[in-house]
Symmetry: C2
Subunit: 150 residues, 2 copies
DNA sequence: TTAAGTGCAAACCCTTTGCGCAGCT
DNA sequence: AGCTGCGCAAAGGGTTTGCACTTAA
C-alpha cells in the first residue's frame, strides 16, 4: 500500500519506478519500528545481497521524503534518520541520555497547541518534538547502584 | 552576568578564562535574538577584527553548552546553531518553510506533558520542540497572489 | 529511442583532531 | 615547570555531485 502510493506519485511527476526505489521503501516497511539512517538502509540492503549504491539510497530517501512517505528525524548526532510517515498517528520521541534508547510517545495535548497556532495564522505541516532525559529503566538502575553503595 | 557565570564555571573546573572565551560568549550576548552557527560566530568575530580561530570557536561553543550557557538547536539543515540558554523562559521554534524565518513560541501547555512523563518515570532534561509550516505573512502573500490571478 | 536513473568515486562542507607553540598559575 | 589553551592545517564522516553507462517507458 506504501508501494502503491509510491507508484502513483512517481507517475504523477513523470518519474520512473525502479527496483532500487522499491527496495529502499521495502527496507522501511520491513523495519517499521526502527529509525534508520541512510547508511543503515544501505547496509541492510547489502547484507541481503541486494546491491543498491549509496548515492541511490540517498537520492531515493530524498524522494520518499518529498512524497511524504518518510519523515526525517534528527536526533542531533549528525545523522539523519527516517521513519515511515503514518499520517494517522502523530508521535514523538523521548531519547534517553544514558542508554540512548528511543521511546515513542503519543501525545494528545499537542492538539491544544495546534489550535492556538492556527488561531494566530500559522499553518503547520510538521511537528518535531523531542525530549531528552533519563528513561525509567536507567533511573531505576542508578537508584539501585546508589543504594548498594550505602 | 553571563560572563560571571562563565568565570565561575571555569574556576570550578580548573579551566582558564581567556580573551577568546569571553569574545565568543559576547557574540552570543550581542546577538541574543539570533540563532548563530559556529561559522557565523567566527565570521562575526573576524569582521570585528578579532581573530579567534575556528577551532577555538568550536571548542568554546562546546564548553559553553557544557556549562549550560548555550543551548544547541538543530533545524535539520546540517548546521548546528546555538542560543543563549535563559533558563527561566522555555520557548520553542516555528520555522516557516517558505521564508525560512524562525519564530520563537512560548509554550505553557508543555507543562501538562511534563507532568505526565514524570508520573511514568521519565526524567526529562531538555525539550526540543520544532514546528514546520507556513507563517502568517507568507500565507497572506500566497492568498493575495491567488486572488490577483482571478 | 531517449530521457530518467544508477553506480562509482571524487568533491563537499561542517566539525573534530593532532601537534607544536604560547601563556597562566 | 607544568598544564591549559591557542592556531594551523589536515583528517573525519555523513551527504552530495559529475559523469558515463544502463534501463524503464
Amino acid at each position: 500500500m506504501y508501494i502503491e502510493t509510491l507508484k502513483k506519485e512517481l507517475k504523477n511527476k513523470k518519474y520512473r519506478m525502479t527496483p532500487q526505489r522499491e527496495l529502499v521503501l521495502k527496507v522501511f516497511i520491513d523495519n517499521e519500528s526502527k529509525h534508520l539512517g541512510a547508511e543503515d538502509v544501505y547496509r541492510l540492503l547489502f547484507s541481503n545481497k541486494h546491491t543498491v549504491s549509496k548515492a541511490t539510497v540517498y537520492r531515493t530517501i530524498d524522494l520518499l521524503v518529498e512524497f511524504g512517505l518518510l519523515r526525517k528525524i534528527d536526533f542531533g548526532d549528525g545523522i539523519y534518520r527516517y521513519e515511515l510517515a503514518k499520517k494517522e498517528k502523530m508521535h514523538h520521541h523521548f531519547i534517553c541520555k544514558i542508554c540512548g534508547k528511543i521511546y515513542e510517545i503519543e501525545e494528545k495535548h499537542l492538539e491544544i497547541i495546534k489550535k492556538e497556532l492556527l488561531s494566530q495564522g500559522f499553518q503547520f505541516e510538521d511537528f518535531d518534538f523531542k525530549i531528552y532525559g533519563i528513561c525509567p529503566k536507567c533511573s531505576k538502575k542508578a537508584k539501585n547502584k546508589s543504594e548498594n553503595k550505602k
